[in-house]
Subunit: 349 residues, 2 copies
């Protein structure tokens, strides 16, 4: 019964490329886009039609493979084919600078392309197989995160979350919401409080929508209400996703996560970051070295047809902030639940 | 030069009632409303056309006086007139439960009406004089708050504020922004960072608009960005207004103030609450006893023509939160700057 109520799948192969749910049209319309060229995939990622760190990686890999399949039909291959894959990787990599899964998926695709060329293997089927593997692993990763976090979501739990790190952010049952879905699958009664997540409202538009589909009660609050809500008690845990986790555990996630973490700490509510291994970036020693994407001021000065700030107002619009590891109770990963001081051990190559 | 750039006045007498700036139309249109009946004034307060704790008190007093003037013309007076004033007070008092200035202004108007009736004085001119006094005192109060907070806004200061506690919230130069305007009047270079203040965006719509009018540089951020911005340094102080201050200094202000106060404290940035004596409520011993207005869910599920949450989403929408006095560095009042531990002494009758 639960599975029938899951949100529709966010991504699939189409006849000539990939098919994705356009998340900018939610919660009003459920519109699917067929993306054929790498430029179309890049635009969809840049415009947040496809968003969520894990899903971006899957979409980039699948988009790259689909492009190679078409080019392969036109006789591409060998050194020429590899050069084209490199260019496509560069185009896709430039779309979002903070999410590390994107670079991880593209590195993996490029390495597979290089191996294929070196061994005289045809590029298109090799890339298609690698993208399919990334997609399959993403769904399995969500399931493992769900199991790893299950004990944090007991019967009667109320979970506070920020942005959307749910099914819509992945090709499976999500990261931060995976333990919620896993608990609901076992018959536990769980409710969620969703920060609306300004400026793009991924919490009220996406998290509330997918939880509604799954029959999980969800209450929307403004980001600024979280501290007050935490002060009233009854919150079991704060669960959030991540876009990049530095080697020391400092975590870049949607703007507002840091303020939420301060409020959770002030009220003794544990905060867990849920993310797959591909979100951890051991090459970045700590959070202050994570590049933070700045987005267009228009995201803050208009919403739909409504002007929300006077013409000419200055705007600061970072997409992410960094939560220091000291405010993080633990990490829910596809390899289990880790206390921050166990991270280094796990990440060591 | 500065005065010429001040925002237009928020309230005035009109031929048959009061004239107010409709703040729900900002920042796009500057529309003034002529309010004639007490019901019209009540609707304008309830719908936040007229908002800001001090301005609500002034508007209620002036609206009440205008109604009495019209009734007086039809022969109202004595016991009948007093009963009508009592009913009007009840109507206006019910519009916003949290702001204490409203009750304070209405109590004062009612006491004046009772004195007038007891001494055989005509009600309408007595009420008009009392409302005029409340209005005049409000402007003078703003000036005194500006002077009291002047030392907190040195040349080169960057002030972070939440909601709108500026000229638009009063009939003068504001409360939290009064020290900013006072500093600018003395030639100091000051810039302001304005939390947009969801759900009704008083920061991006109103604070950015009035500071733009006054030529003060203002950068709009989402409420959830404040913690990240504070972590980057360079913020001189956080200045906010208040809707009600309990006897112990706990302060009810626009939702989000509490989370902002936690973030300011985490970064060692002082937070000051600016408010006139009428916002202090010695009859409420501490913050948990302050009634918190809950507003309609539609404020969170739509913005203009845009649907921001799925149909049927649950919403929690408190208009205010309470910041414990432990997070407040000081109070900027019309009687000077007070450390929290000096409050009781000042408030003692």
């Amino acid at each position: 019964m639960f599975r029938a109520m899951m949100p529709p799948s966010t991504i699939a192969w189409s006849a000539s490329g990939i098919r994705v749910l356009d998340q900018t049209r939610l919660p009003v319309e459920e519109v699917y886009l067929d993306l054929v060229t790498v430029d179309e995939v890049a635009e969809a990622i840049r415009a947040l039609r496809v968003r969520g760190a894990p899903l971006i990686g899957v979409a980039a890999a699948m988009g790259l493979a689909a492009a190679a399949l078409r080019a392969g039909g036109q006789g591409g291959g060998g050194a020429v084919g590899l050069e084209s894959v490199r260019q496509d990787c560069a185009t896709l990599r430039a779309t979002r600078p903070t999410a590390v899964n994107l670079g991880w998926a593209l590195d993996r695709m490029l390495a597979r392309a290089e191996r294929a060329v070196a061994s005289g293997e045809a590029l298109p089927p090799a890339l298609r197989a690698e993208a399919q593997a990334i997609w399959d692993e993403d769904r399995a990763m969500c399931d493992r995160i769900g199991e790893a976090g299950l004990a944090l979501v007991p019967d009667g739990a109320t979970i506070l979350t920020h942005c959307n790190a749910g099914a819509l952010a992945t090709s499976g049952k999500g990261t931060a919401l995976a333990p919620v879905y896993a608990a609901v699958e076992r018959g536990r009664r769980v409710s969620v409080i969703a920060d609306e997540t300004r400026p793009l409202l991924q919490g009220s538009r996406l998290t509330a929508w997918e939880l509604g589909r799954a029959g999980v009660p969800c209450t929307v609050i403004a980001d600024s209400m979280a501290a007050s809500r935490l002060s009233r008690g009854g919150i079991t845990a704060v669960l959030v996703g991540a876009d990049r986790i530095a080697a020391n555990g400092d975590t870049a996630n949607k703007i507002g996560t840091y303020g939420l973490a301060l409020a959770a700490r002030a009220h003794g509510v544990p905060l867990y970051v849920a993310a797959p291994r591909s979100t951890f970036d051991p090459s970045t020693p700590h959070g202050s070295l994570i590049p933070i994407e700045q987005r267009a001021p228009e995201e803050m000065t208009r919403l739909g047809g409504t002007v929300t700030a006077p013409a000419g107002a200055l705007v600061w619009n970072p997409a992410f902030d960094v939560t220091p590891v000291a405010l993080i109770t633990g990490f829910i990963t596809d390899a289990g639940l880790f206390a921050p001081d166990r991270l280094m051990e796990w990440l060591r190559p």
